[in-house]
Symmetry: C2
DNA sequence: CTTGAACCTCTAGTGACTAGAGATTGTAGG
DNA sequence: CCTACAATCTCTAGTCACTAGAGGTTCAAG
């Protein structure tokens, strides 16, 4: 009997069993076959595909982008312009988030640093939250 | 007739009408009264409360944390230790995300930079996604 | 008194999983 | 061959913080 069970595949790719099944329901990853009893069986190709999916997810690509990247990957002769495009868009997003998070970090740091550890009525954390004008960074 | 309608409150706080209603269903913000016909009416205190909520959301505090911060704010004589704690936890989260996003940024930048704009079979984007070992940063 | 904007409630959808119930299958040991 | 029991199956619902829309009612201006 060749093929990995869903449990083994989950182990091999550090993915939860339910997640793998979820990818099947949304049409991202179908097991190459099933046992007579209905258990899923995956082959090496499936495993590679899942690795690709997980890696892209780790980099924060949304499922729909991954769907497109997979279909590009399945057609190696096509131009890689779209892949490039998708990656660049993701990079833009990441950079926007970075900018925002840095502003948040600054503000939170200041709030925490200025808290005198006394009562709520004197608390800088509560005070700043009540009044945006007390913020220095824009967020 | 005193008080703001939901629409005016929405305008004043740059919040969507539905979002304000949502905050009511989860018990975060109740209008101080209603018209005979059932329309919500908000007062200044409600507006301040919503401002607090929105500001905290902008800083990424989850609703449950905001609920607690609000109740602290309503009891100014209590110690601000918890408020401090919540803010510090949020700061930790933000810093963790920053670290991760910086790693993603690095990896995506490299992917995009190394793409030769040719065919998919030679595409660095696709190649890196297929094989995590090609990544330099851990993510 | 009419018009039409603003409001009402209720339900369902988003993204990417995650959790659990209740039933079936696979496999190792006896 | 039988028995445990782990692993798997399907199906449904929950997560978070909204967002969108249907279908109906109220309010304010003219």
């Amino acid at each position: 009997m060749s093929g990995l069970t869903i449990g083994r595949l989950a182990e091999a790719t550090a993915t939860k069993v339910q997640t793998i099944r979820y990818y099947e329901t949304i049409g991202l990853l179908t097991p190459f076959t099933r046992t007579e009893g209905g258990h899923r069986l995956y082959d090496r190709k499936d495993q590679k595909r899942l690795t690709f999916i997980r890696h892209a997810r780790e980099l924060g690509f949304p499922i729909e982008a991954i769907r497109e990247l997979l279909s590009l990957s399945d057609n190696p002769q096509t131009s890689c312009e779209r892949a490039d495009d998708i990656a660049r868009r993701r990079l833009d997003e990441v950079e926007q988030r970075l900018t925002r998070l840095k502003a948040l970090q600054k503000e939170l740091k200041r709030m925490v640093a200025e808290c005198g550890h006394g009562r709520v009525c004197d608390c800088r954390v509560i005070e700043v939250l009540s009044d945006h004008r007390l913020c220095q960074a824009s967020h």
